[in-house]
Symmetry: C2
């Protein structure tokens, strides 16, 4: 643990800050193939915690997990016209296997609607077979040109839910339910406030009738799409023949949905909470919630032994209380340890030295506070256990205050241009894709979403064209990752 | 739930029994690409339970999870001569991505020693960086010619542990520790007795110095290799330059290990416990441990309501007690339901009808017993909760008795030929690979392992060549999957 160089401040170069931090905080390392990163234990533990919480929410809403093969015949992509247009430029293709050329090339899944459509067609015969409520956790591959750890990588990890329903109403309710699951997860676990909304036509998933999204604001004011839920209508059902006998014994196409949340969420956590000192981990997902650092001079053997006994007791009690705690007994300078754990965003740090023991207390450093707090040993476990949900609440409140302060309403293009430099802009839009494109070219901002619960656009006119609003609500503009 | 055709009896055609059962019990379905199967929810839930228990054991022995990229440059395989020979015929190769031909083709990992070796070389500089104790859960691909669900598939799911150590002693202790973890898992969770042993040279992992294995007996007397742990010596360390400064500040190559257990374990559970009625799930891994089937005539509304209330209460209590329970309220003939849950191997089934309620009792059917037991409602939860570990013990005892009855010692080739028709044969072998090959050609049996705790071969001679034993212990011969 040699002294590390400090991170580039966020205000100086947010992008450099991010690119330095993901490596220094041991989240990722470079792999040998461009755009594919190694996710190191500290990063993967965060993903495992995300998986565990989300998976419980999926199961609580009646979904089951399964697993489809990763390789998909290229011809499958051709069956849904919009889908092939969206995904074929990004496919990685297996042409040889077992020492021979394949008759038909196989794509590594960029998403699994096509192969799942093929199987759903086989599984669904009658309305009694519906709904199908399935999800899979897996890796997918999209050959991106410009890659960044967690945000845009050729291989990434996600879950993809795929459901089939007898009616449009039921399918749309599923799409909304899963968006709400994502929003609840983002807010209650990742401590990231999100705006729930619908994507405009140009930003929809390839093949979808409707795409719902949750949008979070990063600490540079940019938006990060953090989870999406799609109503696919009968598009994939027609392409793959997912037909069933309805209650009247008439043939009907199923209505399908898909919804996904990926390792991008790690990027959202990094950029939504991090500061110049490094990461700030939301406690409910933090790989390490509390770190205990024993102190004491190396020549004070008795003091170190007493500290070790107290630290071991503390760690055991915290584990029993369900806290993810790490005891950092490494032979290193405490300052270097503090620096490392701050950078890794551990919410609460306990410093325990012989003098503290003599005084019957310990020092607690909170990742969001500048000062340390002296806590009596007798109340230390309760202080830490209670401190974690309180930390979550403060972190969420901080992120929401930051975001709300950077959302402005705009009535003119000048106001819009100024607003998206700092954050999100709420404005009326006519809905014309050409106008959206022109705004993007001028400002680099896009319509992030039409909020589900927003400001009515009734009687207002488009900030760009002056025409009537294309949507019930004013839309959210922002620059985005 | 139309009446299903009965399974081919095991005694008639074990292979047909297996191939019918995996589909009928909703474990898998065929995918569009040869050899890649869809693992359906009932099969995937079993794998999730396997993952959860194993993962806890890995973490308890100090390992952390991470994730390496799936695509590996083809040149990496060339660096370890034995490894490339073993794996290159089975590789699936990506030659195109993002609409262009790649400069270097990329293989989908068949196993990850090579890419991990590359990164470990970067992470290990000093003895202080050792050991590295990492594991990943992932999909891998080996282009097999003849495939069977779970046993041999082009894509499969597994965990691969990869560790690096400063000394041979430490690495060999790790290899043995992880074999013991697998054996404990097989016996204490999957209820499958296993023989721990070492592979002969010809059966070793490509690139390993030593391969340890656990071998289970299936109910046709054949062996299934169910988990392997490899000491890789310094082979991969030399190939990938995993070097470090040792305590004397001299450069040394690390000693590495790898160990894996895959979805083959599902095949072991199916064939190690199943019978003519279908699966028998070991309770600790069973997706459904108890199924509750409410009974009653469709015209007896009052009776059905009373049964539903009691069934709901029972299910809620069992859930609180941590039991994975399913309430089967489908509108279908109870006989068809019984047939289905027997075939799916649910350990305990509760039948609850109005007459049972009047009598203050329920009927419990145990998957291993022929008769049903009448259990008073007041003691039903305790009966079921206690019944699950007891079921595990009986299942394990049954499998062990079955196996032990089919293990014989052979002193002559005639005895060996006869013995491997029914099960395993313990015999002395000279260790000559040519002799092993000749035995395989004559009997289709191979040396499954040299048991770690077995019968001393001291003073005995080879069953085939009459030469002195090549190993301290007599070896285990068997036909294998």
């Amino acid at each position: 643990m040699a002294k590390q160089p400090t991170l580039t401040p966020q205000s100086e170069d947010f992008s450099a800050w991010y690119n330095e931090l993901v490596y220094r905080a041991d989240l990722v390392d470079l792999g040998p193939v461009r755009g594919a990163f190694v996710i190191r234990p500290y990063g993967w533990a965060l993903w495992e915690n995300i998986q565990r919480e989300l998976d419980a929410m999926f199961k609580a809403t009646g979904h089951e997990n399964l697993q489809f093969p990763m390789l998909i015949p290229m011809s499958y992509f051709q069956r849904e016209a919009t889908h092939v247009e969206g995904f074929s430029p990004e496919l990685a293709v297996v042409t040889h296997a077992g020492g021979e050329a394949l008759e038909e090339p196989l794509a590594i899944r960029p998403t699994s609607e096509t192969i799942i459509g093929e199987l759903y067609a086989k599984w669904v015969k009658s309305y009694r077979d519906l709904p199908l409520l399935y999800n899979q956790w897996c890796n997918v591959m999209r050959w991106e040109m410009r890659t960044r750890p967690f945000l845009r990588t050729t291989e990434f990890y996600w879950q993809e839910g795929h459901t089939a329903h007898a009616t449009e109403e039921e399918a749309r309710a599923e799409v909304r339910q899963m968006l709400d699951v994502y929003a609840t997860f983002a807010e209650d676990f990742a401590a990231l406030p999100v705006i729930r909304g619908e994507k405009t036509e140009g930003e929809r998933f390839a093949g979808a009738v409707q795409t719902l999204t949750i949008e979070a604001m990063m600490r540079d004011g940019k938006a990060l799409q953090s989870g999406t839920s799609h109503y696919l209508g009968q598009n994939f059902a027609r392409a793959f023949e997912i037909k069933f006998n309805d209650v009247n014994n008439e043939q009907a196409y199923a209505h399908t949905t898909s919804w996904g949340l990926s390792t991008r969420m790690i990027g959202a956590i990094i950029m939504g909470h991090g500061d110049d000192a490094g990461l700030v981990m939301p406690p409910k997902l933090a790989p390490i919630q509390v770190v205990v650092v024993p102190m004491g001079r190396s020549n004070d053997e008795d003091g170190r032994a007493r500290v070790k006994a107290e630290a071991d007791r503390l760690v055991a009690e915290l584990r029993r209380a369900g806290v993810r705690v790490k005891l950092d007994e490494r032979d290193a300078n405490p300052g270097a340890k503090f620096y490392e754990w701050e950078q890794k965003g551990v919410p609460l740090r306990v410093e325990l030295g012989p003098k503290d023991l003599d005084a019957g207390s310990a020092l607690v450093k909170d990742r969001l506070a500048a000062d340390k707090t002296t806590v009596p040993l007798g109340g230390l476990v309760a202080y830490l256990v209670d401190g974690l949900p309180a930390f979550h609440d403060r972190l969420f409140a901080r992120a929401r205050a930051f975001r709300d302060e950077r959302i402005v309403e705009a009535r003119t293009m000048d106001e819009l241009v100024e607003g998206v430099e700092r954050g999100f802009v709420i404005a009326t839009h006519c809905g014309d894709p050409e106008s959206e494109k022109a705004i993007q070219e001028a400002t680099k901002a896009t319509v992030r979403c039409i909020p589900l619960e927003g400001i009515s656009a009734l009687g207002t006119t488009c900030v760009h064209t002056g025409r009537p609003s294309g949507y019930p609500n004013k839309v959210v503009f922002g620059k985005a990752y």
